[in-house]
Every structure is written in structure tokens, then in C-alpha cells.
């Protein structure tokens, strides 16, 4: 049976060659967009859709360990794509990471870090320190520098040296510190956090401070909102303390004032 192979014939042979001379067919090509910058013309469109670190996360060290808190809103430009994103990632039972920037980037690399931490434990028969874990992540991110990863994360944990907190970002930067806030709502969160911070607070006081700081950030920053999650990392590992909707928190902090009524409407007497 003779197969129909007309579809396989090069159509270039039938069209007068654009570029080649009459003898040889032109090389196969595709249409390029007709503008000046065809490598970067889509950049604006992509940037709008990127998460661009629209979030508020914070973490601080105090007497009883580390408090980690975050909101749960994901936005694509002006569109709120989700109000229930888990921005605190559980790397392992005694280490937490926060998510700011690209959600996929953060989730993947935190999970990858969890794998590396576990392998370190198995090979060396001891847990990896928060210092070591944050350095592993920072080195990976540095090697992808300039390739478009967007990650602004804090690694918080409790190891042999006590509580540890590091800020790591996709530029390859890594900072050790006691108080950090990352994201578009961080200026607002810093205001409340820096004002109310004391080293010797109880766990409840520290959690309430973190909750208030995130709430105030969600109040003013459009890209933050949803639910405030608060975690505590102690010597036995992390524990989730609370998850409160910021709408409800608003009315808890600023309950509706009953204004005095000048004239009250009364029922008209039945005629």
C-alpha cells in the first residue's frame, strides 16, 4: 500500500524562497514578533502576574525561643488569587521557613532544603544547625543568581546553640539576626514589632505581639491579608499557636463603638 506522504513534503519548495535563491529552498523559520525588543516585550506582562513579594512575614528571637508569623494572601497584581496560602513551611520538626516572593520557588527550595537536612542527619548522626541549613540554602540560591528566582525567606529553628534565625534571599544574601520582617507589608509590621519587642516576654505575649504586627500590616498593605498564622519554635521543636482571620482580629482590636443615639425611633402606636 502506498502511503500518502504529501504532508511530509517541505512546503518551502512550493513557495518562492524568501532568502534562498531559486535553486535551494529557504531554511525553515518561524515568525518573530514585529517589535524592537522581542526578548523582553513580555516582561511587563509577566511582572504584573508575579507575586513580587506581596506578603508580610516576620520572625524574632526572644527568651523562650523563636516566634514566626505570616499572613496568607496571594496576589497577582491587583487580583487576590488566594486568602489561604500556607506561608510558613515546615522544613523539619525543629525548623521553619517563611515564604515571600514566588510561591513555587519557596515551596520547592524549602522542601529541597528539608531533604538536604535529613541527609545530613543520616550521614553525620546529628541534626544540622540552623546556621548550616541556612548556609546550604543561601549557597544554592547564589548559584541561581540572575536566573529569575524570587525568594525572601527566613530560616528559624532551635539547635544545640539555642534559637537561631537567618534571613536568606534569592540574590544570595544571608543575614543573621534577632528580628526580621519580609515582604511588602514589612514596614508596617516593623513599626509595631520594634515598638513592642522585649527580650524577656512570655510565649503568649510574644505571640500576641507577632499577631498584632501582622494584623496592622494587613490593614494598610493591600497585598497582605487573609489569616495570621503564628508559630513558636522551642527546644522541642515548633508548634503552631494560632491562625486568626484578620477581619475578625480587626473587630477584636477595634470593637464597634456604640454611639449615643439622639432620637430613637419608636414603634408608631397602632392606630
Amino acid at each position: 500500500m502506498k502511503l500518502d506522504t504529501t504532508a511530509l513534503d517541505s512546503s518551502a519548495a512550493l513557495i518562492p524562497s524568501i532568502g534562498g535563491d531559486g535553486v535551494f529552498p529557504a531554511a525553515p523559520s518561524f515568525d518573530l514578533p514585529s517589535c524592537d525588543d522581542f526578548d523582553g516585550f513580555q516582561k511587563n506582562a509577566k511582572e504584573t502576574l508575579k507575586h513580587a513579594k506581596g506578603t508580610t512575614t516576620l520572625a524574632f528571637i526572644f527568651k523562650e525561643g523563636v516566634i514566626v508569623a505570616a499572613d496568607s494572601r496571594a496576589s497577582m497584581g491587583g487580583y487576590i488569587s488566594s486568602q489561604s496560602v500556607k506561608k510558613i513551611i515546615e522544613i523539619n520538626p525543629y525548623m521553619l521557613g517563611t515564604m515571600a516572593g514566588g510561591a513555587a520557588d519557596c515551596q520547592f527550595w524549602h522542601r529541597n532544603l528539608g531533604i538536604k537536612c535529613r541527609l545530613h542527619e543520616l550521614a553525620n548522626k546529628r541534626r544540622i544547625s540552623v546556621t548550616g541549613a541556612s548556609k546550604l540554602l543561601a549557597n544554592i540560591l547564589f548559584s541561581y543568581r540572575g536566573m529569575g528566582l524570587s525568594i525572601g525567606t527566613m530560616i528559624a529553628g532551635w539547635d544545640e546553640k539555642g534559637p537561631g534565625l537567618y534571613y536568606v534571599d534569592s540574590e544570595g544574601g544571608r543575614l543573621k539576626g534577632n528580628r526580621f520582617s519580609v515582604g511588602s507589608g514589612s514596614p508596617y509590621a516593623y513599626g509595631v514589632l520594634d515598638n513592642g519587642y522585649r527580650f524577656d516576654m512570655s510565649v503568649e505575649e510574644a505571640a500576641e505581639l507577632a499577631r498584632r504586627a501582622i494584623y496592622h500590616a494587613t490593614f494598610r498593605d493591600g497585598a497582605s491579608g487573609g489569616v495570621v498564622s503564628v508559630y513558636h519554635v522551642g527546644p522541642d521543636g515548633w508548634k503552631k499557636l494560632s491562625g486568626d482571620d484578620v477581619g475578625e482580629l480587626h473587630y477584636k482590636y477595634y470593637p464597634v463603638q456604640t454611639t449615643p443615639v439622639e432620637q430613637e425611633m419608636a414603634e408608631a402606636p397602632a392606630a
Partner: protein, 249 residues
């Protein structure tokens, strides 16, 4: 049999890797080395063959430090040792860079052993012809450790061990006379083991002592002679006590 011992990557029918076993032979021809682990001190001792008059003996260091808290002594091909030691030193610093903590003795031993094993499973290379004794204090727990690796790439921890020439006699001595020691007693035990197979005197022995606070210290010839004299005196006293029967009252 000749057909199975050329290439490292060929097993013999009865399961031997002849090149690795020949490497172990090279180790057995190398100078004697001993390591003893005490509760707060670890001692490495190496036989020093007579130095030619014109040679600067300070350049022939047989006990080297890999990091401030880890030291190594080896027996076998010294040129191979240099290469392995350089790689281990780099790995110690690389570990400090990537996890911001000093490497543990076990980690670096695992690295060296892994390196030795790699060269038993590659084409066109031969195994490293040396066994190493690696000592140090764990940076986290301050527990002293002594490890040994060999050309096959196996490693294990020891309370005391010997390698190189006459290592069997030294090991037998250590097995008979080992007990938990500290400080000067650990040094004496190591020297006594070496003296079993080496001519007496500070000229023929090189001793290095590692403590947690002071790191690695090479003993001077005079200090070694002091220990040797002490040991000889103890030996003589023991002999005398054996010969003279106790007086009965």
C-alpha cells in the same frame, strides 16, 4: 593469578582485589606508626628512620595537622600521603565554609576513606598506598577520637592502634597493656608500644600530643628522651621486683 592483578577494577575468581592487597603490602613496608586515645589526650607516634646528615629533618614531618583540632599520621607511600593530606585539608576548610562549623573527626575520616575507596573503583588509577591514623577532638562534644583508614577505603574507630612495619607486634602489646589513661600516661603508653619495634632513643621516634585546649604539639627530642628514661627506669624496677622474692617476716 597473574591475569587478575593488573587492573584494579578486576575481581579475582575468589573475590580478591589484588591491587588493593598489594597496596596493603606497601603499607606494611612503611614506617611504624601508633596512636593511643586517652581520656583527655591523644598521642600519635611515628618511627623516624635515621636522618642523613645533610638532610634538614624539620622538612620531613610525618605527623601533620589537618585542622586546628585534627591531626594525621600515616604509614606507606609518603608521596601519596601528601596528596591525600592536601585534599583533606581543603575539605576541612570547605566544611567550615558550608556549615560554619569545624568538621568532626569522623567526618574527615569518612572523607579520606571515601577518597581512598574511589581510587579502587576507577579505571587507569591505582589505590593510595597508605593507611592513616586520624586523631582529634569532636568540636561539639570534646570527646577524643582515633580512627584508622586503609587503602581499601574502610575505616573504624579505635582506642589504640598501630600500622606500618611490625604493626602486629605493636598491636599485640597494646592489647595486653591498654587501659584508660590520661596526660603523661597516654604518652608513655604510646612510646612503650613504639619502643617494642624501634631502637630506643629520641632520635628514632617522633611523638605528637593533641589536647583539647592546646591542639597538636610535637614533642622535642629532649622531652622524648625524658619519657624514654622514665620508661626504662620503670622497666628496670619491674624486673628487679620480679627477680627478688618478697621477704617473709
Amino acid at each position: 593469578m597473574a591475569r587478575y592483578d593488573r587492573a584494579i577494577t578486576v575481581f579475582s575468581p575468589d573475590g580478591h582485589l589484588f591491587q588493593v592487597e598489594y597496596a596493603l603490602e606497601a603499607v606494611r613496608k612503611g614506617n611504624a606508626a601508633v596512636g593511643v586515645r586517652g581520656s583527655d589526650t591523644i598521642v600519635l607516634g611515628v618511627e623516624k628512620k635515621s636522618t642523613p646528615k645533610l638532610q634538614d629533618s624539620r622538612t620531613v614531618r610525618k605527623i601533620v595537622s589537618l585542622d586546628t583540632h585534627i591531626a594525621l599520621a600515616c604509614a606507606g607511600l609518603k608521596a601519596d600521603a601528601r596528596v591525600l593530606i592536601n585534599r583533606a585539608r581543603i575539605e576541612c576548610q570547605s566544611h567550615r565554609l558550608t556549615v560554619e562549623d569545624p568538621a568532626s573527626v569522623e567526618y574527615i575520616t569518612r572523607y579520606i576513606a571515601g577518597l581512598q575507596q574511589k581510587y579502587t573503583q576507577s579505571g587507569g588509577v591505582r589505590p593510595f598506598g597508605l593507611s592513616t591514623l586520624i586523631v582529634g577532638f569532636d568540636p561539639y562534644t570534646a570527646v577524643p577520637a582515633l580512627y584508622q583508614t586503609d587503602p581499601s577505603g574502610t575505616f573504624s574507630a579505635w582506642k589504640a592502634n598501630a600500622t606500618g612495619r611490625n604493626s602486629n607486634s605493636m598491636r599485640e602489646f597494646l592489647e595486653k597493656n591498654y587501659k584508660e589513661t590520661s596526660g603523661r600516661d597516654t604518652i608513655k603508653l604510646a612510646i612503650r608500644a613504639l619502643l617494642e619495634v624501634v631502637e630506643s632513643g629520641g632520635k628514632n621516634i617522633e611523638i605528637a600530643v593533641m589536647t583539647r585546649d592546646e591542639g597538636l604539639k610535637q614533642l622535642e627530642e629532649a622531652e622524648i628522651d625524658e619519657f624514654v628514661a622514665e620508661i626504662e627506669a620503670e622497666k628496670a624496677a619491674a624486673e628487679a621486683a620480679k627477680k627478688a622474692p618478697p621477704r617473709e617476716t
